[in-house]
């Protein structure tokens, strides 16, 4: 039994290294070395999300108007998916505002909005990396003198390799075309 277990462990290890050995596509967002720290305080590279399709957006917690709608839209979109598709994707929202969105703030926001940590990650990164991430995702943002941000609001689908497979700027209600794109991308996965 013990031998069998170690054999299985070895297989798992091998499986892991085989995946890691495959080069990342040049148009993958995961080419960018960004370290994210989630609402659970754990840090990992953005590229560690490779292997599972992701719905990604950027937001900040003190934003009163648009950002709650962005989070709602992610939730709406996920709920609209067929359960077999839904179970294969994760949700990631990265803050524009790392100065104010520390881990505790992200955690209390996630609690307040009842965002299930099994598939929701709210994350922060260092300011220079936030700007880089917005660059690869094609999002724009600008801090105002009062500390608020102006920013573009979009949901972005990354395939398992981190390539941008679809995006939508429909916020506050469901975008059926985006739901369809997710279903197709995950089915191909």
């Amino acid at each position: 039994m013990k031998r069998l277990l170690s054999f299985v462990a070895m297989l798992l290890l091998l499986g892991g290294s085989v995946q890691a050995a495959q080069p990342l596509p040049g148009d993958s967002v995961y080419q960018l070395p960004v370290q994210l720290t989630g609402q659970d305080g754990q840090s990992q590279m953005l590229s560690a999300r490779r292997g599972r399709p992701q719905l990604v957006t950027m937001f900040y917690t003190s934003c009163k108007m648009v950002c709650p709608l962005i989070i709602d839209s992610l939730r709406l979109t996920r709920n609209a998916l067929d359960p077999s598709i839904r179970s294969q994707i994760d949700l990631l929202a990265v803050s524009f505002d790392p100065a104010r969105d520390d881990v505790a703030t992200l955690r209390s926001y996630a609690d307040k909005r009842k965002l299930d940590p099994r598939f929701w990650t709210l994350a922060r990164a260092e300011p220079a990396q936030v700007r880089q991430l917005s660059g690869v995702l094609g999002l724009q943002y600008r801090q105002l003198p009062d500390g608020e941000f102006n920013h573009s609001s979009e949901l972005i689908l990354l395939d398992g390799e981190g390539r941008i497979a679809a995006r939508t700027n429909v916020i506050g209600r469901l975008d059926p075309a985006f739901v369809k794109a997710i279903t197709e991308t995950v089915s191909r996965h």
Binding site: D27, M65, L69, Q132, Y141, R142, H151, G172
Partner: protein
């Protein structure tokens, strides 16, 4: 002794060419063409240092040799588009057509950032760049002078097919050269300039994404030259490269 001398010579040759020069700029309250709050608030610029010269082909070549991940045949497509450094004869030679002291162009924002990091610097912010570019040889802010505006607009009318001049133009009052009239320049927050002045006020979800030029209130509508810079930068994505887009680096004081 001779061996020692040779070793010393080798060491000297291995050292990078003269370190880049940075000029100290005082910063302060600055009336930008882009109001800080989208209405009329002036920009606050902290004291900073700015590279007196644009980054050249020779300097960028040395960077690429030291950081092969940024060779044009190695770079990830998401960090630099297909035109990246294609003016060079090969991935690690300039060739005869490209002069070492011409500003490097066809570099993406990501590549420019990585270069500046190698100089322990960063890209300037838009406000820092605009602050430095407002000066002429004798004045910190020459922008109200029609002659200053004319001279910059004159550059825009120069055909882009002619070869780029080399660096080393006349210095402005801070000692910064070629900031107007040689190439476009990347800034750190290039993708922050045209964001709608208040995205939080918009009720229609279809409009939430982003309202481009129409939503931006420009402070100084006469200053076409600078407004064209903003339009150019805002049209670009971070991986884009163009014939005339170069960069210089900045440091916080």
């Amino acid at each position: 002794m001779r061996a020692l001398a040779l070793a010393c010579l080798g060491l000297l040759l291995a050292l990078p060419a003269a370190a880049a020069e940075y000029a100290a700029l005082p910063g302060g309250t600055f009336t930008s063409v882009l109001p800080a709050d989208g209405k009329a608030a002036p920009a606050q610029v902290a004291p900073f240092r700015l590279r007196t010269e644009l980054v050249t082909n020779a300097e960028f070549l040395a960077f690429v040799k030291a950081h092969p991940a940024w060779r044009r045949d190695k770079v990830a497509r998401i960090l630099a588009d297909a035109r990246y450094l294609t003016q060079w004869a090969s991935a690690d030679t300039l060739g005869d057509e490209v002069l070492p002291r011409q500003p490097v162009t066809r570099v993406s924002w990501f590549a420019a950032q990585a270069y500046c990091e190698s100089e322990r610097a960063r890209l300037p912010s838009w406000y820092e760049w605009e602050f430095a570019a407002a000066a002429d040889a004798t004045r910190r802010d020459a922008r109200a002078d029609p002659a200053w505006r004319e001279s910059i607009l004159g550059w825009y009318s120069r055909p882009s097919t002619t070869a780029l001049p080399q660096i080393g133009g006349a210095a402005n009052i801070y000692g910064v050269r070629d900031i107007n009239g040689l190439v476009w320049e990347w800034v750190d927050d290039f993708n922050a300039l045209m964001v709608a002045s208040d995205s939080r006020d918009q009720g229609d979800p279809d409009l939430l994404k982003f309202c481009g030029a129409g939503a931006l209130s420009m402070q100084d509508k006469e200053n076409y030259a600078v407004l064209m810079r903003i339009a150019m930068l805002s049209a670009l994505k971070a991986a884009d490269t163009t014939n005339n887009m170069g960069f210089r680096c900045a440091k916080s004081d």
